[in-house]
Symmetry: C2
Subunit: 145 residues, 2 copies
């Protein structure tokens, strides 16, 4: 599909670039997106494609392998209570997978990150988590994908 002029994921990386590959890139969310969930990564298909089933099977395999490897790194580095995976794309219909480390102390737990906040942010625990992200980013950047 041709890239629509107004697609932000065609124009920009969409966050802090962690790894750029031929067909996809891995970014970490920053700014307001990451305030409550700093360990929020996205694996973004470079071409403008809307749905998971718009990809040919080999490409889907490649992209899912990246999602799997990112989840593996997050589990090893950040020891989350749960990993959340999602491909929604309602606002930006450009194929991307969210890979998010969730904790039983986070502001929405156990609801999805998109639910209203259930409690205040735990700034001390968030700071500890943020301190681990450079190492996590480096492990993702080092993946052979």
């Amino acid at each position: 599909m041709a890239a629509p002029d107004d697609c932000p994921l065609c124009r920009e990386d969409g966050g802090l670039l962690i790894a750029r590959h031929d067909k996809f890139r891995i970014i970490r969310a920053t700014g307001a997106d990451a305030a409550d969930f700093p360990a929020c990564y996205r694996v973004i298909w470079n071409d403008h494609v809307a749905e998971w089933t718009d990809l040919a099977p080999p490409e889907r395999g490649e992209l899912m392998q990246a999602v799997i490897q990112v989840e593996t790194v997050l589990r090893a580095q950040l020891r989350p209570t749960k990993v959340n995976l999602a491909s929604l794309g309602n606002v930006v219909p450009h194929l991307h997978w969210h890979v998010i480390a969730r904790y039983d102390w986070d502001s929405r737990w156990p609801a999805p990150v998109w639910a209203p906040a259930a409690r205040e942010r735990d700034e001390a625990r968030l700071a500890k988590l943020i301190a681990c992200l450079d190492t996590c980013d480096a492990a993702i950047a080092a993946l052979t994908l």
Copy 2:
């Protein structure tokens, strides 16, 4: 992992059973879960496993193939504005994939289904969508998986 006594997806199908396979089942959400999003299907791994990366690669391949086929049926039968895919499991950490047909008239659009409602339900459009579900269910039940 042994099934914990309190896991609802170990005890029950988890919705209207559409197809039962050796390693997974496909259900359609019913009741309150489905009031705003009647075309909400779940592909549920039968064994109690929490994370996507807890599955061995061949099993992950089988389960993702089912997700892909369900998305394909939903697109063909229900013509959604967008398909949403998610594996969260914060409340019930028993591996399941949500495959949800979303519409630009639904009560949360374009937010995720877990966000607060943005508008009233469109009962007339919901009724038309619900009228298509028997055919959609039958197409999913007929899949070779």
